[in-house]
Amino acid sequence: MNWVTPRAEELSYLRADPLLWEQELDVRPDVAQAIERATGTRAGRVYWRSAHDHLYALELADLGRGYPAMATVYGHWDRYEPRPPEHEIDADLLDFSLWVAEVAASLDPTDIARVAQYARIPTTWPEDTVLRTPDACFHALPDFPYPPQYIMVEGLRMAYIEYGVGDPILMLHGEPTWGYLYRHMITPLVEVGRVIVPDLIGFGRSDKPVADNAYSYKAHVRWLRRFIEALDLQRITLVGQDWGGLLGLRVLAQMPERFSHLVAMNTGLPDGPRPWRGVSTLAAFCAAPARPRRAGPDAACCAPSHAY
């Protein structure tokens, strides 16, 4: 378990949601004592950060029995936001259950895993909660001959283009575009390195979860980090525009050892307190009269489908 000590400031803007509560940990004193040994506490809270980056707390109470007699597990979410997708919580709670089985001599983690499988606990995206744009929509796009490659990130298909050799040049698009944005930059850049252009989750050829709350800033940063880890990119040159910068810069801060150069284009890393001037620019953009559109690919073809 990835035990952490959260700062009071961090906890203050989170909401604690009880997920599992025990009135009778004493029904199996051996398990209760094993939890006490493993956490080093009989009464109080221990925190851990899950594989999905969510913060959880295990709260133990003694009730005068000489070992933890009651326990509650809390999930800590952004204070006023819907909690993360349920399958992420399930996966995290299953990990926690496996940990309980590991520390308790009378339980076997393989039994927990089997029961979870038998009960079909959803720990990946359930059916019909993820959309995928059909391949036909991407057929014969102008100036875009690059074949896609795919990688699975937390059960979602993430598409990317990989071209050339050498140190990676990671090019991140923003809203509301996709890798196509960089089509005129790929070929010239191949002369200096290995160009990697992912489609962010929710864009282009990558999978598109239906639920709004799937698209948190935290999740995008995590997906991007997993993408970089899966391809094991080192000495990265980060090229980021718009959200590509907001996300890429955060990932750079989390794993600076993997990055060597940075090219930031019309982006930033707003940190809250100061009003961001980009907002007024955006307001002006929205107020401007719409320009006539050029003919594009067949729009009807490009509606996302339930192909996942």
């Binding site: 599992l20 326990a71 399930d90 259950s97 339980l107 009960a119």
Partner: protein
């Protein structure tokens, strides 16, 4: 006082519940048939409710008996307290004794399956002078495990381990929502499955589904151990009471070895009468056949008139 019965349930379960306050909680029960006739208490277990006995009501009342079908506190249409102390073996027994006293039952018959066995017999032993006959079905009245199910890690002890049990049973309702339908040999219709689980749909309504398994006394010191030992010790008091053992042969929870142990404790009991193509919820798998055997036994031993 009781939650209203949904309209889709009406065709499957047309009977109307009565309500009684027992030990501070509301208990729902059916009281059908002639009020002056000999009463038969039909007692369900985990994770079901009186719906389990729907095939029993018409034949038993037609045979002239009065039928009482309570939902245990924590289950069915009774209150669902999220409080361990209200859901112990002793508490369940006391709840049923309160119902027996309120209805002034005498010369009654206990029909019990699963937890309906120890809770029903536990209550009957408190009013043993009024007990006329006993029909245990796939249940037990003693401490320790005879079969492998309750001692094996999968699924039983794993499902009910601290915190892990909460994850499986409460967050995912694996037993309350799916128990009867995956166990059924006959195959439940979607409406029948829903009839079983709709009473546990509300968050936290299924606390009894955790407390019942955790009360199974396998080892000395387990919750329920002392109460079950008290029942087992008093079984010789039933030596004059007609007893019929009815047993589903395909029950993983209470296989025939449990019937043999009961037979050893109650040597004068008839049976066990085996019912094939029936699993743990045998009243659902073979209801009409079970009630026929029950009526035949009762008519022969005690009769419907008091």
């Amino acid at each position: 006082m009781l939650r209203p019965k949904p309209s889709w349930l009406q065709a499957l379960f047309p009977w109307e519940h009565q309500a009684l306050r027992v030990n501070g909680r509301t208990m729902a029960y059916l009281d059908e048939g002639p009020p002056e006739a000999r009463p038969v208490l039909l007692l369900h277990g985990n994770p079901t409710w009186g719906f389990l006995y729907r095939d029993f009501l018409q034949p038993l009342t037609a045979a002239g008996y009065r039928i009482i079908v309570p939902d245990w506190v924590g289950a069915g249409y009774s209150d669902h307290p999220r409080l361990d102390a209200a859901l112990t073996l002793a508490h369940h027994i006391a709840d049923l004794v309160a119902l027996m006293d309120h209805l002034q039952l005498r010369g009654f018959i206990i029909v019990g399956q699963d937890w309906g066995g120890p809770q029903g017999v536990g209550a009957a032993l408190q009013r043993v002078e009024r007990l006329a006959a006993l029909v245990p079905m796939n249940t037990w009245l003693f401490t320790g495990a005879v079969g492998r199910f309750h001692a094996s890690p999968r699924p039983w002890t794993t499902w009910h381990a601290p915190l892990i049990g909460q994850f499986f049973m409460k967050r995912h309702k694996v037993l309350s929502q799916h128990g009867p339908s995956v166990t059924s040999r006959r195959g439940l219709s979607a409406e029948e499955a829903r009839a079983y689980h709709h009473v546990f749909d509300e968050p936290n309504a299924d606390h009894v589904v955790l407390t019942w398994p955790r009360t199974i006394p396998l080892h000395e010191g387990d919750r329920g151990w002392a109460d079950m030992q008290a029942i087992e010790r008093r079984l010789p008091e039933l030596a004059e009471v007609p007893i019929l053992l009815l047993w589903a042969s395909e029950d993983n929870v209470f296989p025939l070895s449990y019937a043999e142990r009961l037979k050893a404790l109650l040597p004068h009991a008839e049976g066990p009468v085996r019912f094939d193509n029936a699993a743990h919820f045998l009243q659902d798998d073979r209801g009409p056949d079970l009630v026929r055997a029950t009526v035949e036994f009762l008519n022969r031993t005690v009769g419907a008139t008091l």
